[in-house]
Protein backbone atom coordinates (compact mmCIF):
# COMPACT_ATOMS: atom_id res chain seq x y z
CA UNK A 1 0.00 0.00 0.00
CA UNK A 2 2.78 2.36 0.96
CA UNK A 3 4.56 1.64 -2.31
CA UNK A 4 1.35 2.56 -4.10
CA UNK A 5 1.29 5.99 -2.48
CA UNK A 6 4.93 6.60 -3.20
CA UNK A 7 4.31 5.43 -6.77
CA UNK A 8 1.57 8.03 -7.11
CA UNK A 9 4.10 10.79 -6.47
CA UNK A 10 6.88 9.15 -8.47
CA UNK A 11 7.61 11.36 -11.51
CA UNK A 12 8.29 8.21 -13.55
CA UNK A 13 4.86 6.83 -12.73
CA UNK A 14 2.85 9.71 -14.11
CA UNK A 15 0.39 7.30 -15.77
CA UNK A 16 -0.73 5.95 -12.40
CA UNK A 17 -1.54 9.47 -11.22
CA UNK A 18 -3.38 10.20 -14.46
CA UNK A 19 -5.43 7.03 -14.14
CA UNK A 20 -6.42 7.92 -10.58
CA UNK A 21 -7.35 11.49 -11.59
CA UNK A 22 -9.35 10.20 -14.55
CA UNK A 23 -11.22 7.75 -12.33
CA UNK A 24 -11.95 10.24 -9.56
CA UNK A 25 -13.08 12.85 -12.09
CA UNK A 26 -15.35 10.36 -13.84
CA UNK A 27 -16.93 8.95 -10.67
CA UNK A 28 -19.53 11.75 -10.16
CA UNK A 29 -20.63 11.51 -13.80
CA UNK A 30 -21.00 7.74 -13.43
CA UNK A 31 -22.83 8.18 -10.15
CA UNK A 32 -25.34 10.68 -11.54
CA UNK A 33 -25.94 9.29 -15.02
CA UNK A 34 -25.61 5.68 -13.81
CA UNK A 35 -28.44 6.30 -11.34
CA UNK A 36 -30.73 7.53 -14.14
CA UNK A 37 -29.72 4.64 -16.40
CA UNK A 38 -30.35 2.03 -13.71
CA UNK A 39 -33.62 3.64 -12.63
CA UNK A 40 -34.79 3.90 -16.24
CA UNK A 41 -33.61 0.34 -16.99
CA UNK A 42 -31.52 1.44 -19.94
CA UNK A 43 -28.41 -0.61 -19.17
CA UNK A 44 -28.78 -2.54 -22.40
CA UNK A 45 -28.87 0.68 -24.44
CA UNK A 46 -25.79 1.93 -22.59
CA UNK A 47 -24.03 -1.35 -23.45
CA UNK A 48 -24.78 -0.88 -27.14
CA UNK A 49 -23.47 2.70 -27.08
CA UNK A 50 -20.27 1.59 -25.34
CA UNK A 51 -19.53 -1.03 -27.95
CA UNK A 52 -20.18 1.39 -30.81
CA UNK A 53 -17.41 3.57 -29.38
CA UNK A 54 -14.90 1.07 -30.79
CA UNK A 55 -16.13 1.93 -34.29
CA UNK A 56 -15.26 5.59 -33.70
CA UNK A 57 -11.90 4.78 -32.16
CA UNK A 58 -11.03 2.48 -35.06
CA UNK A 59 -12.10 4.99 -37.69
CA UNK A 60 -10.08 7.74 -35.99
CA UNK A 61 -6.93 5.58 -35.75
CA UNK A 62 -7.31 4.61 -39.40
CA UNK A 63 -7.74 8.19 -40.61
CA UNK A 64 -4.86 9.38 -38.46
CA UNK A 65 -2.51 6.82 -39.94
CA UNK A 66 -3.82 6.80 -43.52
CA UNK A 67 -4.64 10.44 -44.17
CA UNK A 68 -2.40 12.06 -41.56
CA UNK A 69 -5.32 13.74 -39.84
CA UNK A 70 -3.47 14.21 -36.59
CA UNK A 71 -6.29 16.18 -35.00
CA UNK A 72 -8.61 13.20 -35.33
CA UNK A 73 -7.66 11.55 -32.05
CA UNK A 74 -9.18 8.26 -30.85
CA UNK A 75 -10.84 10.30 -28.07
CA UNK A 76 -12.57 12.53 -30.63
CA UNK A 77 -13.57 9.47 -32.67
CA UNK A 78 -14.97 7.92 -29.51
CA UNK A 79 -17.04 11.03 -28.68
CA UNK A 80 -18.51 11.29 -32.21
CA UNK A 81 -19.30 7.57 -32.38
CA UNK A 82 -20.84 7.56 -28.89
CA UNK A 83 -23.12 10.53 -29.58
CA UNK A 84 -24.03 9.14 -33.02
CA UNK A 85 -24.87 5.75 -31.55
CA UNK A 86 -26.86 7.34 -28.71
CA UNK A 87 -29.02 9.35 -31.13
CA UNK A 88 -29.49 6.40 -33.49
CA UNK A 89 -30.41 4.00 -30.68
CA UNK A 90 -32.63 6.62 -29.07
CA UNK A 91 -34.57 7.35 -32.25
CA UNK A 92 -34.99 3.65 -33.01
CA UNK A 93 -36.23 2.82 -29.53
CA UNK A 94 -38.62 5.80 -29.59
CA UNK A 95 -39.91 5.43 -33.13
CA UNK A 96 -39.95 1.78 -34.03
CA UNK A 97 -42.38 -0.28 -32.03
CA UNK A 98 -41.20 -3.72 -33.03
CA UNK A 99 -38.23 -5.79 -31.99
CA UNK A 100 -36.25 -2.88 -30.65
CA UNK A 101 -33.90 -5.24 -28.84
CA UNK A 102 -32.90 -6.98 -32.09
CA UNK A 103 -32.09 -3.66 -33.75
CA UNK A 104 -30.11 -2.51 -30.70
CA UNK A 105 -28.25 -5.82 -30.68
CA UNK A 106 -27.38 -5.36 -34.35
CA UNK A 107 -26.05 -1.84 -33.73
CA UNK A 108 -24.04 -3.16 -30.78
CA UNK A 109 -22.27 -5.77 -32.91
CA UNK A 110 -21.92 -3.70 -36.08
CA UNK A 111 -20.32 -0.81 -34.20
CA UNK A 112 -17.79 -3.15 -32.69
CA UNK A 113 -17.10 -4.98 -35.98
CA UNK A 114 -16.51 -1.66 -37.75
CA UNK A 115 -13.90 -0.79 -35.14
CA UNK A 116 -12.07 -4.11 -35.41
CA UNK A 117 -11.97 -3.88 -39.23
CA UNK A 118 -10.61 -0.32 -39.14
CA UNK A 119 -7.99 -1.27 -36.56
CA UNK A 120 -6.93 -4.31 -38.64
CA UNK A 121 -6.56 -2.14 -41.74
CA UNK A 122 -4.67 0.64 -39.95
CA UNK A 123 -0.96 0.66 -40.93
CA UNK A 124 1.32 -0.30 -38.07
CA UNK A 125 0.39 -2.49 -35.11
CA UNK A 126 -2.40 -1.45 -32.78
CA UNK A 127 -3.50 -3.68 -29.97
CA UNK A 128 -7.32 -3.67 -29.86
CA UNK A 129 -7.08 -5.21 -26.38
CA UNK A 130 -6.14 -1.90 -24.82
CA UNK A 131 -9.34 -0.32 -26.17
CA UNK A 132 -11.52 -3.29 -25.29
CA UNK A 133 -10.26 -3.75 -21.75
CA UNK A 134 -8.55 -0.45 -20.97
CA UNK A 135 -4.93 0.49 -20.59
CA UNK A 136 -3.92 3.17 -18.14
CA UNK A 137 -0.55 3.54 -19.84
CA UNK A 138 -2.31 5.27 -22.75
CA UNK A 139 -3.81 8.15 -20.76
CA UNK A 140 -2.24 11.49 -21.68
CA UNK A 141 -2.46 14.92 -20.08
CA UNK A 142 -4.65 16.01 -23.00
CA UNK A 143 -7.04 13.14 -22.29
CA UNK A 144 -7.37 14.34 -18.71
CA UNK A 145 -8.34 17.80 -19.94
CA UNK A 146 -10.96 16.34 -22.29
CA UNK A 147 -12.27 14.17 -19.46
CA UNK A 148 -12.54 17.23 -17.19
CA UNK A 149 -14.47 19.23 -19.80
CA UNK A 150 -16.87 16.37 -20.60
CA UNK A 151 -17.29 15.79 -16.88
CA UNK A 152 -18.43 19.36 -16.29
CA UNK A 153 -20.92 19.13 -19.18
CA UNK A 154 -22.36 15.80 -18.01
CA UNK A 155 -22.61 16.71 -14.33
CA UNK A 156 -24.04 20.15 -15.12
CA UNK A 157 -26.76 18.89 -17.46
CA UNK A 158 -27.41 15.84 -15.28
CA UNK A 159 -28.08 18.00 -12.21
CA UNK A 160 -29.92 20.80 -14.04
CA UNK A 161 -32.46 18.37 -15.44
CA UNK A 162 -32.75 16.49 -12.11
CA UNK A 163 -36.42 17.09 -11.30
CA UNK A 164 -37.71 16.57 -14.81
CA UNK A 165 -35.46 13.59 -15.45
CA UNK A 166 -36.85 11.90 -12.32
CA UNK A 167 -40.40 12.62 -13.49
CA UNK A 168 -39.61 11.10 -16.90
CA UNK A 169 -37.81 8.08 -15.43
CA UNK A 170 -40.52 7.40 -12.84
CA UNK A 171 -43.62 7.68 -15.03
CA UNK A 172 -43.01 8.72 -18.61
CA UNK A 173 -46.68 8.85 -19.58
CA UNK A 174 -47.56 11.17 -16.74
CA UNK A 175 -44.56 13.39 -17.49
CA UNK A 176 -45.71 13.66 -21.11
CA UNK A 177 -49.16 14.68 -19.94
CA UNK A 178 -47.57 17.48 -17.93
CA UNK A 179 -46.23 18.90 -21.18
CA UNK A 180 -42.68 17.63 -20.73
CA UNK A 181 -41.07 16.61 -24.01
CA UNK A 182 -40.15 13.18 -22.75
CA UNK A 183 -38.54 12.05 -26.02
CA UNK A 184 -36.12 14.95 -25.79
CA UNK A 185 -35.20 13.98 -22.22
CA UNK A 186 -34.69 10.36 -23.27
CA UNK A 187 -32.33 11.48 -26.04
CA UNK A 188 -30.55 13.84 -23.64
CA UNK A 189 -30.07 11.01 -21.16
CA UNK A 190 -28.66 8.76 -23.89
CA UNK A 191 -26.24 11.48 -25.03
CA UNK A 192 -25.09 12.08 -21.45
CA UNK A 193 -24.65 8.31 -21.14
CA UNK A 194 -22.54 8.36 -24.31
CA UNK A 195 -20.25 11.10 -22.98
CA UNK A 196 -19.92 9.38 -19.61
CA UNK A 197 -18.86 6.16 -21.33
CA UNK A 198 -16.12 8.05 -23.18
CA UNK A 199 -14.77 9.35 -19.85
CA UNK A 200 -13.69 5.92 -18.70
CA UNK A 201 -12.97 4.06 -21.94
CA UNK A 202 -9.25 4.68 -21.48
CA UNK A 203 -9.18 3.29 -17.96
CA UNK A 204 -11.49 0.25 -18.05
CA UNK A 205 -12.17 -0.21 -21.79
CA UNK A 206 -15.43 -0.39 -23.71
CA UNK A 207 -16.38 -3.91 -22.65
CA UNK A 208 -16.31 -3.25 -18.92
CA UNK A 209 -17.32 0.40 -18.79
CA UNK A 210 -20.96 -0.63 -18.30
CA UNK A 211 -19.96 -2.18 -14.98
CA UNK A 212 -19.09 1.27 -13.65
CA UNK A 213 -22.54 2.49 -14.67
CA UNK A 214 -24.59 -0.22 -13.13
CA UNK A 215 -22.67 -1.69 -10.21
CA UNK A 216 -22.14 1.43 -8.02
CA UNK A 217 -25.69 2.69 -8.75
CA UNK A 218 -27.26 -0.71 -8.12
CA UNK A 219 -25.25 -1.09 -4.89
CA UNK A 220 -26.23 2.43 -3.81
CA UNK A 221 -29.92 1.78 -4.46
CA UNK A 222 -29.93 -0.59 -1.47
CA UNK A 223 -29.06 2.25 0.92
CA UNK A 224 -31.04 5.04 -0.67
CA UNK A 225 -34.56 6.30 -0.25
CA UNK A 226 -34.05 9.30 -2.53
CA UNK A 227 -32.52 9.65 -5.98
CA UNK A 228 -29.93 12.20 -4.87
CA UNK A 229 -28.76 9.84 -2.13
CA UNK A 230 -28.37 7.10 -4.70
CA UNK A 231 -26.27 9.46 -6.84
CA UNK A 232 -24.10 10.44 -3.90
CA UNK A 233 -23.49 6.88 -2.71
CA UNK A 234 -22.87 5.68 -6.27
CA UNK A 235 -20.28 8.44 -6.73
CA UNK A 236 -18.50 7.47 -3.50
CA UNK A 237 -18.58 3.78 -4.40
CA UNK A 238 -17.21 4.61 -7.85
CA UNK A 239 -14.34 6.59 -6.30
CA UNK A 240 -13.54 3.80 -3.84
CA UNK A 241 -13.64 1.21 -6.65
CA UNK A 242 -11.27 3.21 -8.85
CA UNK A 243 -8.80 4.17 -6.10
CA UNK A 244 -8.92 0.73 -4.47
CA UNK A 245 -8.79 -1.11 -7.79
CA UNK A 246 -5.77 0.86 -9.01
CA UNK A 247 -3.99 0.27 -5.72
CA UNK A 248 -4.70 -3.47 -5.81
CA UNK A 249 -3.69 -3.76 -9.44
CA UNK A 250 -0.42 -1.97 -8.71
CA UNK A 251 0.34 -4.01 -5.61
CA UNK A 252 -0.60 -7.39 -7.10
CA UNK A 253 0.56 -6.63 -10.64
CA UNK A 254 -2.92 -7.15 -12.13
CA UNK A 255 -4.52 -5.38 -15.13
CA UNK A 256 -6.11 -2.23 -13.72
CA UNK A 257 -9.47 -2.17 -15.59
CA UNK A 258 -10.59 -5.65 -14.58
CA UNK A 259 -9.39 -5.10 -11.00
CA UNK A 260 -11.48 -1.91 -10.69
CA UNK A 261 -14.54 -3.69 -12.08
CA UNK A 262 -14.00 -6.71 -9.84
CA UNK A 263 -13.92 -4.46 -6.80
CA UNK A 264 -17.16 -2.72 -7.85
CA UNK A 265 -18.71 -6.16 -8.42
CA UNK A 266 -17.46 -7.36 -5.04
CA UNK A 267 -19.23 -4.45 -3.28
CA UNK A 268 -22.44 -5.20 -5.14
CA UNK A 269 -22.44 -8.93 -4.39
CA UNK A 270 -21.51 -8.31 -0.75
CA UNK A 271 -24.48 -5.98 -0.34
CA UNK A 272 -26.89 -8.38 -2.05
CA UNK A 273 -25.70 -11.43 -0.11
CA UNK A 274 -25.57 -9.42 3.12
CA UNK A 275 -29.13 -8.23 2.61
CA UNK A 276 -30.30 -11.74 1.81
CA UNK A 277 -28.71 -13.12 4.97
CA UNK A 278 -30.16 -10.32 7.06
CA UNK A 279 -33.66 -11.05 5.74
CA UNK A 280 -33.24 -14.75 6.40
CA UNK A 281 -32.06 -14.22 9.96
CA UNK A 282 -35.00 -12.01 10.75
Amino acid sequence: MLTYFSALTDPNMVFLRYALFAGLLAAPAFGIIGTYVVARRMTYLAGAIAHCVLGGIGAALYCQARYELTWLTPMLGAIVAAIGAALLIGLISLRSRERVDSVIGAIWVLGMATGIIFIAKTPGYIDPMSYLFGNILMITGGDLLTIAVLDVIVIGLGLLSYNRMIAVCFDEEFARLRGIRTELYTLLLLCLTALTIVLMVRVVGIVMVIALFTLPAATASHFSTRIWQMMLFATLLGMISVAGGLSLSYGLDLPSGPTIVMLAGFFYLTVIVGKGLKNRLR
Binding site: L160, R164, F170, R178, G179, T225
Partner: protein
Protein backbone atom coordinates in the same frame (compact mmCIF):
# COMPACT_ATOMS: atom_id res chain seq x y z
CA UNK B 1 -80.05 22.16 -31.63
CA UNK B 2 -80.04 25.68 -33.00
CA UNK B 3 -78.76 27.62 -30.03
CA UNK B 4 -76.41 30.06 -31.75
CA UNK B 5 -74.22 30.89 -28.75
CA UNK B 6 -73.26 27.99 -26.49
CA UNK B 7 -73.61 29.17 -22.93
CA UNK B 8 -70.59 27.27 -21.78
CA UNK B 9 -67.78 25.36 -23.44
CA UNK B 10 -68.23 21.71 -22.50
CA UNK B 11 -65.46 20.08 -20.51
CA UNK B 12 -65.33 17.16 -22.90
CA UNK B 13 -67.07 16.77 -26.22
CA UNK B 14 -66.86 13.66 -28.37
CA UNK B 15 -68.39 13.58 -31.82
CA UNK B 16 -68.72 10.31 -33.69
CA UNK B 17 -65.43 9.04 -32.36
CA UNK B 18 -64.21 5.63 -33.48
CA UNK B 19 -61.01 3.95 -32.43
CA UNK B 20 -59.48 0.57 -33.19
CA UNK B 21 -56.23 -1.17 -32.43
CA UNK B 22 -55.35 -2.48 -35.87
CA UNK B 23 -58.32 -4.51 -37.03
CA UNK B 24 -59.95 -4.73 -33.62
CA UNK B 25 -62.55 -2.03 -33.09
CA UNK B 26 -62.53 -0.74 -29.52
CA UNK B 27 -64.96 2.17 -29.74
CA UNK B 28 -67.47 2.79 -32.51
CA UNK B 29 -69.28 6.02 -33.23
CA UNK B 30 -69.13 7.48 -29.74
CA UNK B 31 -70.75 10.87 -29.15
CA UNK B 32 -71.31 12.61 -25.85
CA UNK B 33 -70.80 15.88 -24.10
CA UNK B 34 -69.78 16.48 -20.50
CA UNK B 35 -70.46 19.89 -18.99
CA UNK B 36 -68.10 21.56 -16.57
CA UNK B 37 -68.47 20.38 -12.96
CA UNK B 38 -70.35 17.34 -14.17
CA UNK B 39 -69.45 14.09 -12.45
CA UNK B 40 -69.46 11.06 -14.69
CA UNK B 41 -68.61 7.44 -14.14
CA UNK B 42 -67.46 5.13 -16.91
CA UNK B 43 -68.50 1.55 -16.29
CA UNK B 44 -68.50 -1.54 -18.42
CA UNK B 45 -66.83 -4.90 -18.93
CA UNK B 46 -63.08 -5.37 -19.18
CA UNK B 47 -61.88 -4.63 -22.69
CA UNK B 48 -65.01 -2.59 -23.31
CA UNK B 49 -62.97 0.54 -24.01
CA UNK B 50 -63.07 2.53 -20.75
CA UNK B 51 -59.34 3.10 -20.45
CA UNK B 52 -59.11 3.70 -24.21
CA UNK B 53 -61.72 6.43 -23.91
CA UNK B 54 -59.68 8.11 -21.14
CA UNK B 55 -56.54 7.91 -23.27
CA UNK B 56 -58.39 9.49 -26.18
CA UNK B 57 -59.50 12.33 -23.94
CA UNK B 58 -55.90 12.75 -22.78
CA UNK B 59 -54.65 12.78 -26.37
CA UNK B 60 -52.40 9.78 -25.73
CA UNK B 61 -54.34 8.05 -28.51
CA UNK B 62 -55.84 9.63 -31.62
CA UNK B 63 -59.24 8.50 -32.93
CA UNK B 64 -59.37 7.18 -36.51
CA UNK B 65 -62.55 9.13 -37.14
CA UNK B 66 -64.47 11.81 -35.28
CA UNK B 67 -63.30 14.67 -33.10
CA UNK B 68 -62.67 15.14 -29.40
CA UNK B 69 -62.59 18.59 -27.85
CA UNK B 70 -61.49 19.15 -24.29
CA UNK B 71 -62.39 22.56 -22.84
CA UNK B 72 -63.00 23.69 -26.43
CA UNK B 73 -59.53 22.80 -27.73
CA UNK B 74 -57.71 19.63 -28.79
CA UNK B 75 -56.79 17.12 -26.06
CA UNK B 76 -53.09 17.93 -26.52
CA UNK B 77 -53.71 21.64 -26.00
CA UNK B 78 -55.88 20.98 -22.95
CA UNK B 79 -53.51 18.47 -21.33
CA UNK B 80 -52.14 20.81 -18.72
CA UNK B 81 -55.65 21.35 -17.37
CA UNK B 82 -56.27 17.63 -16.93
CA UNK B 83 -55.22 15.71 -13.84
CA UNK B 84 -54.85 12.00 -14.55
CA UNK B 85 -54.60 9.04 -12.25
CA UNK B 86 -53.57 5.91 -14.20
CA UNK B 87 -54.89 2.47 -13.30
CA UNK B 88 -51.49 0.85 -13.39
CA UNK B 89 -48.30 2.62 -12.54
CA UNK B 90 -45.56 1.02 -14.60
CA UNK B 91 -43.14 1.83 -11.88
CA UNK B 92 -40.06 0.19 -10.58
CA UNK B 93 -40.54 -0.67 -6.88
CA UNK B 94 -36.84 -0.09 -6.22
CA UNK B 95 -37.07 3.48 -7.59
CA UNK B 96 -36.01 5.59 -4.61
CA UNK B 97 -38.47 8.47 -4.38
CA UNK B 98 -40.35 9.99 -1.48
CA UNK B 99 -44.09 10.58 -1.49
CA UNK B 100 -43.42 14.31 -1.80
CA UNK B 101 -41.24 13.67 -4.88
CA UNK B 102 -44.10 11.79 -6.52
CA UNK B 103 -46.76 14.42 -5.78
CA UNK B 104 -44.41 17.18 -6.96
CA UNK B 105 -44.33 15.47 -10.36
CA UNK B 106 -47.76 17.01 -10.83
CA UNK B 107 -45.89 20.34 -10.96
CA UNK B 108 -43.09 19.13 -13.24
CA UNK B 109 -44.61 20.77 -16.31
CA UNK B 110 -44.07 24.27 -14.97
CA UNK B 111 -40.49 24.20 -13.69
CA UNK B 112 -38.38 24.09 -16.84
CA UNK B 113 -34.88 22.90 -16.08
CA UNK B 114 -34.97 24.36 -12.61
CA UNK B 115 -36.17 23.47 -9.14
CA UNK B 116 -39.61 23.29 -7.61
CA UNK B 117 -40.65 26.58 -6.06
CA UNK B 118 -42.09 27.11 -2.58
CA UNK B 119 -45.42 27.60 -4.31
CA UNK B 120 -45.12 24.20 -6.04
CA UNK B 121 -44.41 22.59 -2.67
CA UNK B 122 -47.36 24.38 -1.07
CA UNK B 123 -49.72 23.15 -3.81
CA UNK B 124 -48.38 19.60 -3.46
CA UNK B 125 -48.84 19.68 0.34
CA UNK B 126 -52.35 21.02 -0.06
CA UNK B 127 -53.25 18.25 -2.52
CA UNK B 128 -51.98 15.68 -0.02
CA UNK B 129 -53.87 17.33 2.81
CA UNK B 130 -57.07 17.09 0.79
CA UNK B 131 -56.65 13.34 0.53
CA UNK B 132 -55.57 13.13 4.18
CA UNK B 133 -52.14 11.77 3.28
CA UNK B 134 -50.00 14.82 4.11
CA UNK B 135 -48.51 12.89 7.03
CA UNK B 136 -46.86 10.54 4.55
CA UNK B 137 -44.97 13.26 2.64
CA UNK B 138 -41.46 12.22 3.66
CA UNK B 139 -42.04 8.46 3.52
CA UNK B 140 -40.47 6.39 0.73
CA UNK B 141 -43.14 5.81 -1.93
CA UNK B 142 -42.41 2.08 -2.12
CA UNK B 143 -43.15 1.62 1.59
CA UNK B 144 -46.83 2.52 1.18
CA UNK B 145 -49.83 0.20 0.99
CA UNK B 146 -51.81 -0.11 -2.23
CA UNK B 147 -54.58 2.16 -0.97
CA UNK B 148 -52.16 4.82 0.24
CA UNK B 149 -50.36 4.71 -3.08
CA UNK B 150 -53.67 5.17 -4.88
CA UNK B 151 -54.38 8.30 -2.87
CA UNK B 152 -50.91 9.67 -3.50
CA UNK B 153 -51.53 9.26 -7.22
CA UNK B 154 -54.80 11.16 -6.91
CA UNK B 155 -52.93 13.86 -4.96
CA UNK B 156 -50.39 13.98 -7.79
CA UNK B 157 -53.25 14.50 -10.26
CA UNK B 158 -54.67 17.25 -8.01
CA UNK B 159 -51.28 18.94 -7.77
CA UNK B 160 -51.65 19.69 -11.49
CA UNK B 161 -54.41 22.13 -10.43
CA UNK B 162 -56.70 20.52 -12.99
CA UNK B 163 -60.07 21.61 -14.31
CA UNK B 164 -60.83 18.03 -15.22
CA UNK B 165 -59.89 15.00 -13.16
CA UNK B 166 -59.62 11.61 -14.89
CA UNK B 167 -59.44 8.69 -12.49
CA UNK B 168 -58.86 5.18 -13.81
CA UNK B 169 -60.14 2.70 -11.23
CA UNK B 170 -59.50 4.81 -8.13
CA UNK B 171 -60.78 2.07 -5.81
CA UNK B 172 -58.95 -0.86 -7.40
CA UNK B 173 -56.56 -1.44 -4.47
CA UNK B 174 -58.58 0.13 -1.69
CA UNK B 175 -59.70 -1.87 1.33
CA UNK B 176 -63.48 -1.96 1.75
CA UNK B 177 -63.11 -0.14 5.08
CA UNK B 178 -61.29 2.78 3.51
CA UNK B 179 -63.61 2.90 0.53
CA UNK B 180 -66.26 4.98 2.25
CA UNK B 181 -63.71 7.59 3.31
CA UNK B 182 -62.44 7.60 -0.22
CA UNK B 183 -65.89 8.19 -1.54
CA UNK B 184 -66.38 11.23 0.70
CA UNK B 185 -63.14 12.73 -0.61
CA UNK B 186 -64.11 12.19 -4.23
CA UNK B 187 -67.56 13.64 -3.63
CA UNK B 188 -65.94 16.73 -2.16
CA UNK B 189 -63.66 17.08 -5.19
CA UNK B 190 -66.59 16.77 -7.56
CA UNK B 191 -67.85 20.14 -6.28
CA UNK B 192 -64.77 21.87 -7.65
CA UNK B 193 -63.59 20.00 -10.72
CA UNK B 194 -65.14 17.97 -13.49
CA UNK B 195 -64.63 14.34 -12.53
CA UNK B 196 -64.54 11.36 -14.86
CA UNK B 197 -63.95 8.14 -13.07
CA UNK B 198 -63.62 4.62 -14.43
CA UNK B 199 -64.97 2.03 -12.09
CA UNK B 200 -65.92 -1.58 -11.86
CA UNK B 201 -67.99 -0.84 -8.84
CA UNK B 202 -71.18 0.79 -9.96
CA UNK B 203 -72.55 0.87 -6.45
CA UNK B 204 -69.60 2.90 -5.34
CA UNK B 205 -69.73 5.49 -8.08
CA UNK B 206 -73.47 5.85 -8.48
CA UNK B 207 -73.50 7.70 -5.18
CA UNK B 208 -71.19 10.45 -6.31
CA UNK B 209 -71.89 10.94 -9.99
CA UNK B 210 -74.85 12.34 -11.85
CA UNK B 211 -74.45 10.23 -14.93
CA UNK B 212 -73.12 6.81 -15.74
CA UNK B 213 -71.58 6.10 -19.12
CA UNK B 214 -71.72 2.48 -20.08
CA UNK B 215 -68.77 1.79 -22.29
CA UNK B 216 -68.85 -1.39 -24.33
CA UNK B 217 -67.73 -0.49 -27.85
CA UNK B 218 -70.45 2.09 -27.74
CA UNK B 219 -71.28 4.57 -25.04
CA UNK B 220 -74.74 4.64 -23.51
CA UNK B 221 -75.58 7.34 -21.06
CA UNK B 222 -77.79 6.86 -18.03
CA UNK B 223 -78.64 9.42 -15.38
CA UNK B 224 -77.98 7.72 -12.06
CA UNK B 225 -81.60 8.20 -11.03
CA UNK B 226 -82.67 5.90 -13.83
CA UNK B 227 -80.37 3.02 -13.02
CA UNK B 228 -82.37 -0.15 -12.87
CA UNK B 229 -81.50 -3.79 -12.81
CA UNK B 230 -82.46 -4.04 -16.44
CA UNK B 231 -80.01 -1.38 -17.54
CA UNK B 232 -77.22 -2.83 -15.45
CA UNK B 233 -77.98 -6.23 -16.88
CA UNK B 234 -77.66 -4.75 -20.33
CA UNK B 235 -74.34 -3.11 -19.48
CA UNK B 236 -72.59 -6.13 -18.14
CA UNK B 237 -74.41 -8.99 -19.77
CA UNK B 238 -75.75 -11.87 -17.72
CA UNK B 239 -73.39 -12.26 -14.78
CA UNK B 240 -74.56 -9.45 -12.56
CA UNK B 241 -76.11 -9.74 -9.17
CA UNK B 242 -78.03 -6.83 -7.75
CA UNK B 243 -77.74 -6.09 -4.09
CA UNK B 244 -80.13 -3.65 -2.63
CA UNK B 245 -78.76 -1.62 0.23
CA UNK B 246 -80.49 0.93 2.32
CA UNK B 247 -77.77 3.19 3.50
CA UNK B 248 -78.69 6.10 5.69
CA UNK B 249 -77.09 8.51 3.23
CA UNK B 250 -80.24 8.71 1.11
CA UNK B 251 -83.83 8.51 2.11
CA UNK B 252 -84.85 6.67 -1.01
CA UNK B 253 -82.03 4.19 -0.72
CA UNK B 254 -79.94 3.35 -3.71
CA UNK B 255 -78.72 0.40 -5.65
CA UNK B 256 -75.42 -1.36 -5.78
CA UNK B 257 -74.40 -3.78 -8.43
CA UNK B 258 -71.80 -6.34 -7.62
CA UNK B 259 -70.14 -7.85 -10.57
CA UNK B 260 -69.18 -11.43 -10.17
Amino acid sequence: MQSPVPLQIPAVQCEQVSFSYGEIPILTDVSFSIQKLDAVALVGPNGGGKSTLLKLILGLLTPQTGTIKVLGVTPQQARKKIGYMPQYLQYDPSFPVSVMDVVLMGRAGSIGLGRYSTEDRRIAMQAMAELAVDGLASRPFNSLSGGQRQRILIARALACEPEILLLDEPTANVDPGVELQFFEILKELANRVTVLTVSHDLGFVSQMVSRVFCVNRQVKIHPTSELTGEIIHEMYGGDVRMVRHDHCCSEQGHSHADIL
